[in-house]
Amino acid sequence: MLNLIKKEIALCMHPTAFIFLFFAVLVFVPNYPYEVIFFFSCLSVFFCCMMTRENGDIAFSCALPVKKEYIPLAKMLVVFGLQGIILLLVGIIGAVKGAVLPAEQYVNQAGISANLALVGNGAVLLGVFNLIFFPRYFKSPDKIGVPFVIGAVAVFLLISIFIVLRWTTPLYSVALNGLNSENIGAKAAALTMGIVIYIILSAISCKLSMRHFQRIDV
């Protein structure tokens, strides 16, 4: 498994997989729907899958002495690693923003502030994308467009829901909004729930993807 992960990183990673990690600094942009940062992470998955296809990686990997179901698992573990990094970066850079900018500049007119609850929202978005995209993709790894479009539509719908909630519910506009130091319990709970949802959805996605990949003809 470790060898497969190393091969993924060495031969299948599109540069955007790493470049888009730096988009975590977008939390410094005033009045911006910060959940969109996580969409860039999804977009990099699309580019990596394109790279996998153009490189003939699936056929190459299947001829290696590895269990077939480990091939999708290795690809997904690499993506989960990158998603973990973007979540961490958004959390850290958001906290830095809270520490260095005046409180009034921390208020976001386009969604919730760059705080722990945002990271929780991001985890939910990425978990939903994983659940929609990967099982469809590993059914037929040559067809990347349709699974990605379905995943992207779901992600933007969720982003819209989060923005609506920000303006319509006290939970999102007050308890989960603003600096991390305010209502820390609620924000920590939102973060924990987001991560739990991410883990559950991603685990289901792994199971389904491995099952689908077993059945494909390379």
Binding site: D57, V66, V218
Partner: protein, 286 residues
């Protein structure tokens, strides 16, 4: 012990069926897998390597692929028609990712092969000629001590000199390292040079699996002045040619005085057996 044994390999697609293919590759032999385009050669190889979900048993040096796939794949070197993977990566990057999968990887042997094949690791795959790609795939396959080479049309797209060179390399591997080889091709001149045995597939069915000499010794090519003469002689796969008709005759059949018979080549055998096969299918429909 056979290097490879394939028993009743079957794969059903909506429009094509690979139908219970069984054959073996004796240790130290070069076996040519032949048949026209779409006959099922690549499907057979993919089925052997479990790249597709096919039914049937495959064993390599006595080990069953279904029971111990990872151990079996350690013994196989697969060359899929050159090296079509990772065109923008250097050979060095690919080797670094590939070698750790094989505990038996011999870096010294790999470097010797690269030197022998005049390949530079600094080059990218897209910068290699088709012949160089085949050599790189061979270098990777042989450096992990593969005892069975399975190659899918490795000589397609190669010029005659490169094909000759490839055949020399394969012969050298068999003689010096005792490697066994299964390779598919439709370039029969390569087979005439190096193959010991032939596996002939037509429309997903096995038509012959025997030593090359046996196949060549089985038929003679006969030319007839009229179709009636060919039919009377029970010639196989009769077709019109520039002057008269041509068909195969079994070697033990009497040749009519009006017919001229010569030794049949693999090409002749394939062409006429395919013709006979098609006619057989047409007759069924009729």
């Amino acid at each position: 012990m056979n290097a490879l044994e394939v028993k009743e390999l079957t794969k059903v697609y909506p429009e094509f069926t690979l139908d219970k293919i069984s054959f073996c590759v004796p240790q130290g032999h070069i076996v040519g897998l032949i048949g026209r385009n779409g006959a099922g050669k690549s499907t057979t190889i993919k089925g052997i390597l479990r790249l597709i979900a096919a039914e049937g048993d495959v064993s390599v040096f006595g080990k069953n692929m279904g029971e111990d796939e990872m151990a079996v794949k350690q013994m196989i070197g697969y060359v899929g028609g050159g090296f079509r993977y990772y065109p923008r990566n250097t050979l060095s990057a690919i080797r670094k990712a590939y070698a750790p999968f094989y505990p038996t990887w011999e870096q010294g042997k790999y470097e010797r092969l690269l030197a022998q094949f005049k390949l530079s690791e600094r080059k990218k795959v897209k910068e290699l000629s088709e012949g160089m790609k085949v050599k790189f795939a061979l270098a990777l396959a042989l450096s992990h001590g593969a005892k069975l080479l399975i190659m899918d049309e490795p000589t397609s797209g190669l010029d005659p000199l490169s094909r000759e060179e490839f055949c020399d390399i394969v012969l050298q591997l068999v003689r010096e390292d005792g490697v066994s080889v299964l390779f598919s091709t439709h370039i029969t001149s390569d087979l005439m040079r190096i193959a010991d045995d032939i596996v002939y597939i037509s429309q997903g069915k096995l038509l012959a699996a025997c030593p090359l000499k046996e196949l060549l010794g089985k038929y003679r090519l006969a030319r007839f002045s009229s179709l009636k003469d060919a039919t009377t002689a029970k010639a196989i796969g009769v077709k019109a040619v520039k002057e008269g008709y041509e068909g195969l005759l079994l070697c033990d059949m009497q040749v009519a005085t009006s017919a001229a018979a010569t030794d049949a080549t693999i090409d002749n055998i394939i062409v006429h057996l395919e013709k006979a096969n098609e006619e057989g299918i047409c007759a069924e429909f009729d």
